[in-house]
Subunit: 114 residues, 4 copies
């Protein structure tokens, strides 16, 4: 789905879910910013106390991998919900940030056109 | 761009930026999970100590709004970078999580087809 | 106990618990730094989506209050464990930071001697 | 100072600093809970992308070590400020949590009296 669905399509599904529950009123936007932090910590919790070797082993387990995907989905759901409330074009914001990082961390390697 | 670009296109731009700098080796994936948490906190910092009224006033300032967009971009860059390393289809993971949430938080409202 | 116990006494109880389980090896100190962040998010989770009114009502409930105290204890346990591993005198570090903040945020109010 | 100062003495210095600036009104307590999370992330940032070897080397640098101590102090300042607002006895909360953890993670090793 990442291959053929637009970012807007994902945002639309998230907004639809929210609006069906009349939850827009909670997106203050301080609340979703808090939610992003909390969900990010829940994602991080899966890797806590583990070495890189233990992590790569545990990611071969499909159940664990699904749990990690679900936590990542939570972070992204709140990020896209937040972007919707503030009318932020995520693709554009990412592009702008990557351009800024290109100046900060220049590469001497010949850059191929995308 | 969210309207016409796929999620995969955004992921590809992020992976290209990373590969041009040979940074894949840092995506352990414990490191990007840590990065997501740190960037989420930097986003939250913009709303810290502020009331909802102060926040809506401060978001009318274009400079502030750009700063917030940039912090959100950072969270998303690490989320998509993380998803790339672990081969997680973000659109699918979001869809699966929304379906799970639909069961957890049912709505009696008639649901419109998308 | 805060009234008559030293900070060192609390630190000693935490280190003793850790050493009885031979857990010092996990305090890398990257790991406890990660743990502090995760526990901080679990504390924050108790206030998520709630207004200040809802929070003050919910804190009148003793069970809820105990849960909040327990999450705060977790953050402090990892903070003091971290300080033990790095030989940081917490009282001194706090004093130094408050002095720095005093210069940053001067007060014109007459300051009473402690 | 950890050796001879009580936890209450540290809390009192933090509350005094706050009250001299009339900042109690901001301790809602949702705000300090948010602050704990943000400061925890700033502490974690010092260890970001670094291996354990790089971290132990960088902690031999006194300037770096002072920066880390300062970030830890920030987390603790907000934790103790939070505990003050909610009348939580930190030493007692830590003791209670350690006892709970003792049941969860029993040890067969003979336990020495403190």
């Amino acid at each position: 789905m990442d291959d053929n669905g637009t970012v807007q399509a994902v945002k639309a599904r998230i907004s639809k879910f929210r609006d069906e529950r009349d939850w827009l009123k909670y997106d203050t936007p301080k609340n979703p910013a808090i939610a992003i932090s909390i969900e990010a910590a829940e994602l991080l919790e899966h890797f806590q106390w583990k070495t890189d070797e233990q992590i790569s082993r545990f990611l071969r387990d499909e159940t664990k991998m699904n749990e990690v995907s679900e936590e990542l989905a939570d972070v992204i759901i709140y990020c896209l919900g937040f972007s919707d409330v503030l009318h932020i074009d995520v693709s554009e914001a990412v592009e702008r940030k990557l351009n800024k990082n290109r100046e900060k961390y220049p590469t001497t390697k010949q850059q191929l056109a995308t």
